[in-house]
């Protein structure tokens, strides 16, 4: 018999999508959150609307780890089509909750796990009148059963229902009926388990919010002054645009009129075109998409790079290609962003790793775009964008927008008095960044003609080889200037430690956990959280300071490592890549395993322990 662990549990709910389980899972997750227990959830869903398998994994972690847990303690086996596999997803000694309205088929029996039944079908047949709703309410039964088994009280459940369906008492009551029936069934039959208990932590999550990166990004963009949004639906980026559609009317009205334009474009080529047109005309403009959309935007982004037009591109990465795994997470478009488009191009990429940085970087992306007069990427992924994360609330840093070297008519007037001329593509300050006017500027010297790279410093048409080379060299200088402007990495150094770990984006959370586990078995590491490209000086120093560096990324080809190696080939040679690319949110165990493999320092048993801990 195990002794139940307190507030350390992972539950996986296996259902079909479109069966109404999303609502049930949400209630379960929010109930645990409401109890004050640190928790996270990962939705592993198919690219389909109804009838395909979906898994929702909830983790409660007293230690506050939010990455996907390696092991599953309890499985809600509510999908017959995947059940035969699902029973092997859980750990030895784990628990399977199934619908025992009908007997368990022999092929679904497995040794070493505990089966608990709840007659969900029978319960809803009794409680819910025959209607399409009945099937959905079946999922509420497992919520009740789990609540009883792990110690979520019905008061908490009711409170969550009220938060969720506040204005619909009928919905609250009908859900509650089924949840309560599941709860009481377990109670009356004296069903117990010894895996884990959930115990409320008073004020544990006080002041915390639950949100997704796509909400955070949308809000950040709005607070950053996003003015024109053009987008084309694609998972997992659509919900960012939909959040903008949701919040913009509420946040950005002046006398009942919109201070923004949001346009659902006919394709990503048009979306990029509109964004660049608006950026050229002087507004903060953005789009959001994922890999396939970014492919279509390539040409326009290249033009914006050479014509030096501020524009922001949120890329929520997923498994490629177009008919790939659109609902799975990846960091495999790093190079597609970094080198986006033809010609010698390099782009600025901001890389948030949690909800707060999704908000902050989204807000700041417009400053960066205007400062450098260039397309800027905000690199996210499905795990960050679409999964629920608990977080400190968003906070608005009160700072003025950085409009960069934007020249007004008054400034031109002044310049003229000083005998200074406006030259659109002239590097007056030596930082590679020229001065910019926008259409509508009435000064007689404001206007210029925009074209790709075939121009001289005065924006006049030129195919002169020296002009062209100067344009390319200046753009490179500009990129170098960006190194000291983009967000710096966050670094953790420990005395005498010679092993470094670098990660970025959604790998941060599992990497943090992995490092704790490694420390617990004696392998101390330093850490660098990469938050932007171009690579900054601090990254170089970190590489120099360590003997071995593990670089964690979610793709097969070590794309970020390649960027580092391109920059500093010799230092790059120290990198051992930790590559995770199965499309699922990263687990700490996988990182631990690969780091140990790299270190080849210990026995398989230690690896196993470190993987399974926590």
């Amino acid at each position: 018999m195990e002794t139940p662990r307190i507030n350390d549990l992972s539950i996986c709910v296996a259902t079909e999508n479109g069966s109404g389980s999303a609502s049930a899972n949400n209630i379960l997750f929010k109930a645990i959150f409401k109890m004050g227990i640190p928790c996270s959830s990962k939705n592993m869903f198919p690219s389909n609307i109804q009838g395909l398998p979906t898994w929702y994994q909830i983790r409660a972690s007293a230690e506050g780890y939010f990455g996907r847990k390696d092991v599953i303690d309890a499985m809600v086996m509510f999908n017959d089509t995947t059940a035969a596999k699902d029973i092997y997803r859980i750990r030895d000694g784990g628990l399977i909750l199934y619908d025992d309205s009908t007997p368990l088929p022999p092929n679904l029996k497995r040794e070493g796990v505990q089966y608990l039944g709840v007659p969900a079908n029978k319960i809803v047949q009794k409680l819910v009148p025959a209607s399409p709703l009945r099937g959905k309410q079946r999922n509420m039964v497992y919520v009740g059963a789990l609540a009883y088994l792990f110690g979520i009280d019905m008061e908490t459940i009711r409170a969550v229902l009220e938060d969720t369906f506040g204005k619909k008492p009928v919905v609250i009551e009908s859900n509650l009926l089924c949840i309560d029936a599941g709860y009481r069934h377990m109670e009356e039959n004296g069903v117990t388990q010894n895996i884990a208990r959930l115990q409320a932590i008073p004020n544990g999550n006080k002041g915390k919010i639950i949100t997704e990166g796509n909400t955070a990004g949308a809000l950040g963009a709005i607070y950053g002054g996003a003015t024109l949004v053009s987008w084309y639906p694609i998972t997992p980026s659509s919900s960012l645009a939909e959040n903008l559609e949701h919040y913009l009317p509420r946040l950005r009205k002046s006398n009942g009129k919109a201070t923004y334009a949001i346009i659902q474009a006919e394709d990503e080529i048009a979306a990029a075109g509109m964004v660049v047109g608006a950026g050229w005309a002087g507004a903060r403009s953005m789009t959001c998409t994922s890999g396939p959309g970014l492919s279509l935007m390539n040409e326009t982004i290249g033009l914006a790079h050479f014509a030096e037009i501020p524009s922001v591109f949120f890329i929520i990465q997923r498994g490629g290609p177009s008919t790939g795994l659109p609902t799975r997470t990846q960091q495999a478009d790093i190079q597609l962003m970094y080198y986006c488009s033809h010609g010698d191009t390099r782009h600025i990429i901001l890389i948030p790793h949690d909800m707060k940085s999704c908000f902050d970087f989204a807000r700041r992306s417009f400053d960066v775009a205007e400062r450098f007069q260039t397309p800027v990427f905000v690199m996210m992924d499905l795990d960050l964008g679409m999964n629920l994360w608990s977080s400190e609330p968003f906070r608005l840093e009160k700072e003025p927008f950085d409009r960069g070297k934007l020249v007004t008519a008054e400034m031109l007037e002044q310049w003229e008095k000083e005998g200074k001329k406006f030259r659109r593509y002239f590097d007056a300050d030596g930082d590679g960044i020229p001065y910019r006017t926008i259409p509508g500027n009435p000064h007689r010297h404001a206007a210029y003609f925009t074209r790709g790279s075939g121009h001289d410093a005065d924006a006049l048409y030129s195919e002169d080889e020296n002009d062209y080379k100067e344009t390319l060299d200046r753009l490179r200088r500009k990129f170098e200037t960006a190194r000291s402007y983009v967000p710096k990495p966050i670094i953790e150094m420990n005395e005498g430690v010679k092993t470094g770990v670098i990660c970025f984006g959604s790998s941060y959370e599992p990497t943090r956990e992995a490092r704790d586990r490694l420390r617990a078995v004696g392998l101390k590491t330093n850490h660098l959280l990469l938050r932007a490209l171009p690579l900054t000086e601090e990254v170089k120093e970190f590489l120099e300071a360590h003997k071995t560096i593990y670089l964690v990324e979610q793709n097969r080809d070590a794309q970020m490592a390649a960027v580092v190696k391109e920059e500093w080939p010799e230092l790059g040679a120290k990198i051992i890549s930790v590559l995770i690319y199965d499309g699922l949110p990263v687990t700490a165990g996988e990182i631990v395993k690969q780091i140990f493999n790299g270190a080849q320092a210990t026995t398989a048993e230690v690896v196993r322990q470190a993987r399974l801990r926590g």
């Binding site: 607070y223 003015t227 919109a258 075109g273 609330p393 404001a446 003609f449």
Partner: protein, 362 residues
């Protein structure tokens, strides 16, 4: 009733450099026609596109448009180079092949006080950019959109374009056996609200049509036949200068009267029709076909079809619908152009963020 050019000196003289050519004709804002020119053309001598540029210059001059309020947009092609050759004092953007529609939609969305003029080619519009073009019209984005239609890709040296007529031959003899996309028909179908066709060599018709397009709020599409003298001007081509000239089929002669001119017109009963444009300007149509009514969509489409069947080019103001609001209007935008809003209006107060935080705590 030819073109009128007012010579009055208006007040509100813009602060352009002194031209020192007092005897030159100036328009209402004190500019000469020369002030509407751009850098010298680099196109082939005799190219139809240059003639269109001259009409564009004439139209802007005649309408006394302040160049500093104009934005010029284009895609890629010989035609798309032309915005550099007119209105040197206006902002211009020579963008990506076929994507002018999208860029214009973005630019117009954030500053609808600017007057957008776009120049594109038949390759740019009818092939690579066709989808975006259709959607721009579907939205009724405010723009004067000129397609300089020569039936070939000029800049890439003479391949057929999607507006090459069935039965037309390439310079090397190759026969085009695909039906042509008729841009006027397409424009009407997809929701453009001002649709005209003209010929580069007919400034008398083209310039007022451009003036009308500038006065119209919405997608104004001008399909302008414009011979490519280098790659598509031979015997056997249906877009040669000679062939076009011989097969023009104008539906009206027209005059443009700007909103600021208070001119009474003597109408000929039955054959003259006045069309009032959004800014109060008027186009007077002297009908060459007494029964043609440009507000009748089905008639317009039927007339285009009939002309195509006869191998003719229907020209004039083919279709006009003043009733549809333009895209910027549909979006319920605030008065100030979005591009000119400051942080005070662009950044919501922090209290609203706190409100949202509180909602996300549940």
């Amino acid at each position: 009733m030819g073109r009128r050019r007012l010579q009055q000196k208006s007040s509100g003289k813009p602060d352009y450099e002194d031209k020192g050519v007092a005897e030159k004709k100036v328009n209402r804002i004190n500019l000469t026609e020369k002030d509407y020119e751009g850098t010298p053309s680099t196109l082939c001598r005799g190219c139809g596109h240059d003639a269109i540029t001259a009409s564009v210059i004439r139209a802007f001059f005649d309408s006394s448009v302040d160049p500093r309020k104009v934005v010029k947009l284009s895609g890629i092609g010989c035609s798309s180079k032309t915005p550099a050759y007119f209105l040197g004092q206006a902002f211009g953007f020579n963008a990506v092949h076929g994507r002018m529609s999208a860029l214009a939609t973005g630019a117009n969305g954030v500053n609808r006080t600017l007057i957008p003029i776009g120049v594109s080619g038949d390759g740019d519009t009818a092939a690579i950019g066709l989808g975006n073009f259709c959607h721009m019209m579907r939205r009724n984005v405010n723009i004067t959109y000129i397609v300089e239609n020569n039936g070939v890709y000029g800049l890439t040296k003479g391949q057929f374009s999607a507006t090459a007529d069935k039965g037309s031959r390439m310079k090397g003899g190759k026969l085009n056996d695909m039906p042509a996309i008729d841009l006027a028909e397409l424009a009407i179908t997809f929701g453009a609200t001002y649709v005209a066709r003209s010929f580069s060599g007919d400034r008398k018709q083209l310039a007022p049509l451009i003036q009308g397009a500038l006065a119209h709020k919405g997608s104004a599409i001008l399909d302008v036949l414009s011979p490519c003298v280098t790659f598509n001007n031979h015997e056997g081509s249906t877009k040669s200068l000679k062939y076009i000239r011989e097969n023009l089929d104008p539906i009206q002669d027209l005059d443009f009267i700007p909103y600021y001119e208070n001119i009474e017109v003597d109408y000929k009963e039955g054959t003259d029709q006045e069309v009032t444009l959004h800014d109060g300007s008027r186009i007077v149509l002297h009908k060459l076909r007494s029964d043609y009514d440009p507000s009748n969509k089905m008639q317009a489409l039927a007339a285009i079809h009939a002309a195509v069947a006869e191998g003719k080019f229907l020209t004039g103001l083919i279709y006009y619908d003043p009733s549809r609001p333009d895209f910027a209007e549909q979006m319920n935008l605030c008065e100030t152009p979005l591009a000119e809003l400051g942080q005070d209006l662009l950044q919501p107060p922090a209290e609203l963020l706190d409100e949202i935080n509180a909602e996300l705590m549940k």
